[in-house]
């Protein structure tokens, strides 16, 4: 931790004095002179305050008359800006709200600063212990057709040598679906989900780190997509999700290999596998990162294939006639069909200087029934291809 001690007593300047007209601020800026013993602070964070005709400030909370000539306020206790430092920070000032601002701008027509968008119920409390942390959260969100309340608890703790970190989590959510407001006919439908998660991250050797997470999700209620035809899904959806990651540094090549595997299986009958591997190879000023990711899922038990005509094209009336003969649960949502997908990626970056890096990333994604693991997937699905290209220039100060 960077502790560069400093203590100041500053004469108040114009803008600071101006701020003291604001209710409550004078009490903050000039509360009673601090001494090291009063604050139980070590000498490096001691503040000395020169403090004149200003007795009002502590008692009078709301209104303070400022006498400019005589006011000295304590400066913040702070060390130096440490540029390009690395370390654990408690909080962030600056570009972080950027993503959030962008996000809220996109959904609210460019509002920033003070706005009405309130998530009054969202509060997460984290309690820190010497080698552990425990969080509890409560969230409430509402959209025009959806209201959701969620409660979460999670905890993580590390072994004394910091080589192993355990994580456990529990979450429950209650959703209400009502799309009558937007012209639909669904109202007063509910969905409840509970999730249990356990995981461990283990440093295996100086060159290997592995992670394993297991999640159990238990849900009941209304699972239909209210905007889709042919929807009659079960009112129960339970799932197991397992995730394994392993990163290894290959000293002989000065390279790293990152691998991951995720298995998902639920009571709809959907079961999926995702496997990915990346090789990170620096060579001089270049770093090449080729990668491949494969995904395959089986269809839900109640997914029904569309009826195709002799030319292999979608036959609407045939599909409708087929649908009305079906009993029990049904869905024609393609996300519940059997298919597979393959992503190939290559990233190349070039460091002109240690602080100026250019990179190019290319990804090719293909999704189709034929890529389904162990044979053809659902018929009548259109294959889907996507190319993704990104060029970046990074300058670090």
């Amino acid at each position: 931790m960077n502790k560069s001690p400093s203590s100041f007593a500053l004469p108040a300047s114009g803008v600071l004095l101006a701020s003291l007209v604001l209710p409550g601020l004078a009490a903050l800026a000039t509360f009673a002179p601090l001494t090291a013993s009063a604050e139980t602070a070590p000498e490096q964070t001691t503040v000395s305050v020169k403090y004149g005709n200003y007795q009002d400030s502590q008692a009078n909370w709301d209104r303070v008359k400022v006498n400019a000539a005589q006011v000295y306020v304590q400066a913040p206790i702070a060390g130096e800006w440490s540029i390009e430092a690395s370390g654990v920070s408690d909080n962030v000032s600056g570009a972080t709200p950027y993503a959030h601002t962008q996000k809220s701008g996109a959904s609210s027509g460019g509002k920033t600063g003070m706005s009405d968008e309130r998530h009054a119920g969202d509060v997460k409390i984290t309690r820190y212990l010497p080698r552990a942390a425990v969080s509890a959260s409560l969230a409430y969100s509402t959209e025009h057709d959806y209201t959701s309340t969620a409660v979460g608890l999670d905890a993580r703790w590390s072994t004394d040598d910091n080589n192993r970190t355990w994580t456990v989590g529990y979450g429950t959510s209650h959703d209400t679906i009502d799309n009558t407001y937007s012209g639909g006919s669904i109202s007063g439908k509910h969905k409840n989900t509970q999730e249990f998660m356990g995981g461990v991250t283990q440093v295996l050797t100086p060159t290997d780190i592995a992670q394993f997470n297991l999640t159990r999700s238990i849900g009941s209620g209304y699972y239909n997509d209210p905007y889709k035809l042919y929807e009659n899904r079960p009112d129960q959806r339970n799932a197991w999700i397992g995730l394994v990651r392993w990163n290894h540094y290959v000293g002989a090549f000065d390279a790293s290999i990152r691998t991951s595997y995720r298995h998902y299986s639920d009571s709809f009958g959907v079961s999926s596998h995702t496997a990915g591997v990346e090789w990170v190879q620096p060579t001089g000023r270049w770093t090449f990162t080729p990668g491949v990711r494969y995904y395959s899922q089986s269809a839900a038990n109640f997914y029904f294939d569309p009826v195709l005509n002799a030319q292999g094209q979608y036959d609407l009336s045939g599909t409708v006639q087929h649908f009305i003969t079906l009993r029990g649960n049904t869905s024609a949502d393609q996300r519940l069909a059997a298919f597979g997908a393959l992503t190939l990626s290559m990233k190349a970056s070039y460091a002109f200087t240690p602080s100026l890096v250019a990179d190019v990333k290319y990804e090719r994604y293909r999704q189709s029934a034929a890529l389904h693991l162990g044979g053809a997937g659902s018929p009548g699905l259109d294959a889907f291809n996507a190319n993704f290209m990104q060029v970046g220039l990074t300058y670090r100060f």
């Binding site: 007209v21 604001l22 602070a41 509002k111 600063g113 670090r396």
Partner: protein, 309 residues
Amino acid sequence: MNRWRTLRFDFSAMASPCSLQMDGCDESVMRRAAAEAIAEVQRIEHKFSRYRTDSIISRINQSAGREAVAVDEETGDLLNFALQLWTLSDGLFDITSGVLRHAWDFKRAQFPAPDQLQSLLAKVGWQQVTWDGEQVRLAQAGMELDFGGFGKEYATDRAAAVLHQHGLKHALVNLGGDLHALGPRGLPELNGATWNIEISPPRPTADGPAAPLALLPLGRGGLATSGDYERFFMHEGQRYCHVLNPATGWPVSHWQSVSVLAANTSTAGALTTIAMLKGADAPAWLDAQGVRYLAVQHDGQVLHNAASF
């Protein structure tokens, strides 16, 4: 009951991620203080929103060009603050400049039509505001006041004030990157260490989270950052951001970001905004204000003043 503990409360307000962190011994006091501080932030957001038709700001704006509106004491204090900032910044900090946003469409990346900008500029200027300490009147219909320029910073300070009122001495308030530290860490084993604040670089990198631009150990005071990255568009390699000069109606371009450390967050926030508007004159002006700053110039050069005053 007197074991030390750390609590952190994350919440959303003012369209930003927010948090309260505190070290203390009495958990029930800490929780009550946090709940009241969050309620205080929400009260301020609610009261001064220009998106609410029933807010005091909306009432003042709706009466523009017509009658004067009597305001409550807190609103009056904020108007006094705004007046002083306008004076101290030679008119650069102007809470009537919000109407200029109608000319700049950052989503469509469009330049304003010259006549549109001219007609909006005619509605900008605190000199057209009549403020007698009790009633406020905007001279022309179409003029608007907007407290967005210091509302979040003021709420940060007020939240800190609520925690302070509950006797908390070791707390950090963060409303979307505007921070107020009420005192250093309190856990005995941390031995009075400061909070470590990361200053994010104003330009995101292609690879997601960038390395921090700087770390600042903060024990007490307000820290705020203004930048050109919140809303902007690019045209022929030039960035046009949402910080607009009230005299010209055009975006500022000298600084990518300015972080200021001051005794409270309202001061720090006002200073960062004025510094963005002052352009090349900002360092000397900030030095004269007796605050510490860290600024990233348009070319990426990082400037900051020395610790010795």
